[in-house]
Structure formats: structure tokens, C-alpha cells
């Protein structure tokens, strides 16, 4: 492996990823409803500031401002033809920020979901999904991203399509899913299911894991679920800084920097190697997380009780894995078609 992330992973036993993109751009004046990716072109200074904030706070990896930079998402803003260009610029700005440092900083090209449901349930075919992801991947590659970073995925089919697209682009990648529905993804995938999905791919990611979701506690339960599968692939934990609250026309997340510091250390103890935040995570949170990871000793793998004690309750009693999995409770009558 010659890519920068693999090299860095060989020298370190934990890496700090970045925090929120949307939350931080809002704080810089992004209007509700506008596409953040437009700022790559219109306000590159602000995107430079976004990345710099994370790197200054100690992040080893930061994600580019290209989460919604695929054609399916940009279509809403009439910018579907700019997917490759806007993605490229997001990575170019990132490259500049990263190359100014005397330590290795990884530019991770963010790729978010298409926002569409895949066939046969929805209209998006596998071929088209691959094409959409491939176009964005090429843009991020041109811009100089070290690695592609798929995030907030719910459907296994979409994860597979992205893996295929990233192979076409010849880029190493990482990929996380959002476990926001009773401990599973919206499409019903459990943490154990995701490990099977990842290990079964022809082009598996360098690291995999969970991002966004509900709160920090839920995210760590998911990480424990990954770790229980016992594979060696690095696990990524990027949880939200608490729960969103509405205040004076703005969204604030209720997770304090201190809570996120505890979360970061618990994530490492749970088995995660790459640790960061998601929505609501500001530079202040990242600084505390960096400090905690640098100064606090590693501990035993926490129990579910220890997680809730430190970070608050889970959003659901079970997450569909292990002994908790009761399966469908309903008595079935005779099925006529198998």
C-alpha cells in the first residue's frame, strides 16, 4: 500500500478525523437550503478556513466539502453538470491546506449518498449509481484527495455501487454508514451485517465504520458491534456532538466538548482506530478530543452500561445484534410464494 492513509495507519494506533461540515459552514453564514458545495467556487477562503480549523485542532484527517457534490444531489440546485468540477475544487483547497503542514494530514474526499432509493424498490439503478459515484471520485482524485471517504450511507446496495466506482477511479477509500434507526441503518442493516458487507466486497475499504446516526452512545454501541466481529480492518467512529436543539433560529448540538472528549476515548477503547465527530462537532470539540486521545491512557473495552453512564442513554433498547435479536415476532400464516 503506497497511499498516505495506509502509511499513517502503520505509524499510529489512533487518528483524529474532523468534525462537522454543515454546522461549521452555517456558523460562517451558509443559508438554509443553499448547497454548501457552491462555496468551493464562490468562497474558497471560507472552505480553507473550515479545513484549517480542523487541522489546527489536531485532526490527522479532514473531509472535503463535497458531501452533496454528486450529480443526483446537485441536480436540486441546477448544478448537476458541476459534480466533477465542484468536487475537484473541494480537494484542491484541501491539498493546499494539508501540504502546508510539517506533519502528514490526510485529505479525504467526502462522498455522501445520492439521496435516492435504489432499484428495485426505487428508481436508481446500480449502473447509474456507479456512474454518479465514479464521476465524483474522478473529480476528487484530480483535486488531489489522498483517499475517498464515503459517508452517511443507509443502503448496502449504495455502498456496493460506490465501492465499484472507486475501483474504476483507482482510489483507496473508507466508508461509513449511518445507524439511526433502532441501532440499524434506515434500510435495516445491523453493525454485524455491515462487517459482512465490507468483507465481502471485491474492493474493500481501508477502514469502515459509523458516522452521524443518533447520539454518541448509540454510535459506540455500533462500534462494539463491529469489533465483536473480530476483523482486523480499522474501524471509524464519527458521531454527532449530541442531539440537535433549536435556539434563536439556529441549530445547536447539546454535546459539550468535554462529552466528546469522553466519547473519543471510549471509542478508542471500544475498538475504533479513526475517531472524529459529525454534525455539531466544532474545533473546540476537536481540541478536547485530541487532548483526551493524546493524554489519557487506553482502557478496557467498555460495557454498554459504562457507555450510557458516561454519555447518556441509547435511543433504542436493542440494535439487532447478538442475543438482543428477537427477529420478527409475528406469527406467520402460510405463505403462498417463497
Amino acid at each position: 500500500m503506497t497511499n498516505a492513509l495506509s502509511k499513517l495507519l502503520k505509524t499510529r494506533d489512533w487518528l483524529l478525523a474532523d468534525g462537522a461540515t454543515g454546522t461549521n459552514l452555517f456558523n460562517m453564514g451558509l443559508e438554509s437550503g443553499d448547497a454548501p458545495e457552491m462555496w468551493n467556487d464562490e468562497h474558497p477562503d471560507r472552505i480553507t478556513r473550515l479545513y484549517t480549523m480542523a487541522v489546527d485542532a489536531g485532526s490527522d484527517i479532514f473531509l472535503t466539502n463535497s458531501f452533496g457534490g454528486n450529480a443526483a444531489r446537485l441536480k436540486l440546485h441546477g448544478a448537476e453538470k458541476r459534480a466533477r468540477e465542484l468536487s475537484r475544487i473541494s480537494a484542491e483547497i484541501g491539498r493546499e491546506v494539508a501540504d502546508k503542514r510539517d506533519r502528514t494530514v490526510i485529505v479525504a474526499g467526502s462522498v455522501g449518498p445520492t439521496g435516492e432509493i435504489m432499484a428495485p424498490m426505487g428508481a436508481l439503478t446500480h449502473e447509474l449509481a456507479v456512474e454518479i459515484f465514479h464521476e465524483q471520485a474522478e473529480g476528487l482524485k484530480e483535486g488531489g484527495a489522498d483517499v475517498l471517504w464515503l459517508e452517511t450511507i443507509s443502503a448496502p446496495e449504495e455502498y456496493k455501487a460506490a465501492a465499484e466506482a472507486f475501483k474504476l477511479a483507482g482510489m483507496p477509500w473508507c466508508g461509513t454508514m449511518s445507524f439511526d434507526t433502532a441501532g440499524r441503518t434506515m434500510m435495516g442493516l445491523t453493525s454485524a451485517d455491515m462487517v459482512n458487507l465490507v468483507e465481502g466486497l471485491a474492493n474493500p475499504p481501508l477502514g469502515y465504520g459509523a458516522n452521524c446516526g443518533v447520539g454518541a452512545s448509540d454510535l459506540l454501541r455500533t462500534v462494539l458491534g463491529f469489533a465483536a466481529q473480530g476483523t482486523d480492518r480499522p474501524i471509524i467512529a464519527k458521531g454527532n456532538a449530541g442531539i440537535p436543539k433549536y435556539h434563536d433560529g439556529h441549530i445547536h448540538y447539546d454535546g459539550t466538548p468535554e462529552l466528546m472528549a469522553d466519547y473519543a476515548v471510549l471509542a478508542r477503547d471500544s475498538g475504533a482506530t479513526i475517531i472524529g465527530g459529525c454534525c455539531g462537532t466544532t474545533a473546540e470539540h476537536l481540541e478536547k478530543m485530541h487532548e483526551a486521545l493524546s493524554t489519557r491512557p487506553r482502557g478496557e473495552r467498555p460495557t454498554l452500561e459504562q457507555i450510557t453512564e458516561a454519555l447518556g442513554p441509547f435511543s433504542s433498547a436493542a440494535d439487532g445484534t447478538g442475543d438482543d435479536d428477537d427477529g420478527p415476532k409475528r406469527e406467520r400464516r402460510g405463505r403462498r410464494r417463497g
Partner: protein
């Protein structure tokens, strides 16, 4: 189980058995079987409204409960809703002809800037599954779209959905506009979407936040009932 054992002839079932079988078929998302079941019940002289409420809405209520309880997930619900749609397609013109009672109506759409319509579509389908009339405005709606649709359709409920923290504040823009124009109390306003919560719903002045599509249906029924009661006592 072998094919032979599994084979059930719908037309041979009693009314009661057939309805229960249709609940299972809805649960399994079997569209053709649902269409067949609807036609059989109609042939047996069932009123379209009874077919809707007992067979279809009854079945979707089970799907909704299991979705709410984390037993079923989006793919299964989409299949069930698709089967329901097959049955509704047959019943809709008949319901209109027979002047069947209405559960209520809803105008729904994702707010400006938000193209994530999976949740909104689920709510639409589950509301239709519960017998509501739904006017779906699709994605990315500025306040003008909501206002025009409210004026045109005079629904009981306005539903707004947002999946992004970047778009959820726009719900307040819509509600504030309704307040300014003195129309806020004409509608039940329900909001939903992954990053929202009850506190947010209250803060922006919605009637209720609905955690998922199943809860949206339950909440809608409760509020419409309350609204009708109020109208009756007013």
C-alpha cells in the same frame, strides 16, 4: 414448506380468512395478491370503504406498528406500500362514486433546499394506507408552494419534512408565514425528519413532531379527531 402446502386459493377462503390473508400479503408486499383479494371482496358485495378500512388499512396498521417497533425497516415498508397502492388503485374511483367518508387530508412536501424525500414518501404512503387523502408537493418547496397548495386543497394537515440540519430551520419560515397571514390555526402542522426532535417541533410552533411514518399516522388520526370534536362543540 413445499409449494403444494403453501398454495392458498384466495377465492376459497371465507371473508374473515381472506382479510387475514390479505394482512399477511400486505406484510409481505405481494401486490398481485392484494389486487386479487380486493376484487374478490368487491365481488362478494363488500362496500369499497369496508375493503379499504378492514383489509387494507387493517393490514397497513400492522406494518406500521412493526416499523415503529424496529421489526420492519424501510425496504419492507416500501414493498407493503406498493402492494397497498395496487389495491387503492382499484378502490379509489369506487370510493369517490360511493361517497365514502374521508379520514382527512394532508398537504406534504420537503422544505426548500431538501431533496431527501424517502421519509416524506413513506409518510405519504402510510397516510394513504390509513385512508387519508394526500397531496404530495414533492421536494424543495419554498413557502409559496405550501401556501398555494393549502389555499387550493384546504387540507386538515400540513406536513413538512427535512433530513438535513441545514434545511430544518426553514420549517419555521413556513410556520411564521402562516402566523403572519393569520392562517396558522386553520391547519394541523406536523413535522418530521431524521435530525428533528420533539423539542424542535415545539420551538418552531408545529403541533407535533413525528418520529417516523407510523407515528405520523397515529398523530394525524388523533389530531383530526380532536379537530372534529372541537368543531362539533364550538
Amino acid at each position: 414448506m413445499s409449494e403444494d402446502q403453501d398454495e392458498i386459493i384466495l377465492a376459497d377462503l371465507s371473508d374473515e380468512e381472506l382479510v387475514e390473508q390479505m394482512w399477511d400479503d400486505l406484510y409481505d408486499g405481494l401486490k398481485e395478491e392484494i389486487e386479487e383479494g380486493v376484487n374478490i371482496l368487491l365481488e362478494r358485495g363488500w362496500a369499497p370503504y369496508r375493503v379499504l378500512t378492514e383489509a387494507l388499512v387493517g393490514g397497513m396498521t400492522i406494518v406500521g406498528k412493526d416499523f415503529r417497533d424496529g421489526i420492519l425497516f424501510v425496504p419492507e415498508v416500501l414493498l407493503a406500500a406498493n402492494a397497498m397502492k395496487g389495491g387503492m388503485f382499484i378502490l379509489k374511483p369506487l370510493l369517490a362514486e360511493t361517497g365514502a367518508p374521508r379520514m382527512g387530508s394532508m398537504v406534504i412536501g420537503t422544505v426548500k433546499g431538501d431533496i431527501h424525500d424517502i421519509g416524506k414518501n413513506l409518510v405519504s404512503m402510510m397516510m394513504e394506507g390509513a385512508g387519508f387523502e394526500v397531496v404530495d408537493l414533492g421536494i424543495n418547496n419554498p413557502v409559496e408552494n405550501y401556501l398555494a397548495a393549502l389555499d387550493e386543497h384546504k387540507p386538515d394537515i400540513l406536513g413538512m419534512s427535512a433530513l438535513l440540519t441545514t434545511t430544518m430551520p426553514y420549517m419555521k419560515v413556513v410556520i411564521d408565514t402562516l402566523v403572519e397571514q393569520g392562517k396558522r390555526d386553520d391547519y394541523i402542522v406536523l413535522v418530521g425528519g431524521a435530525p428533528l426532535n420533539e423539542e424542535f417541533g415545539k420551538a418552531i410552533g408545529a403541533d407535533a413532531y413525528c418520529r417516523d411514518a407510523a407515528v405520523a399516522v397515529e398523530t394525524a388520526k388523533e389530531y383530526v379527531k380532536r379537530k372534529h370534536n372541537q368543531a362539533a362543540t364550538a
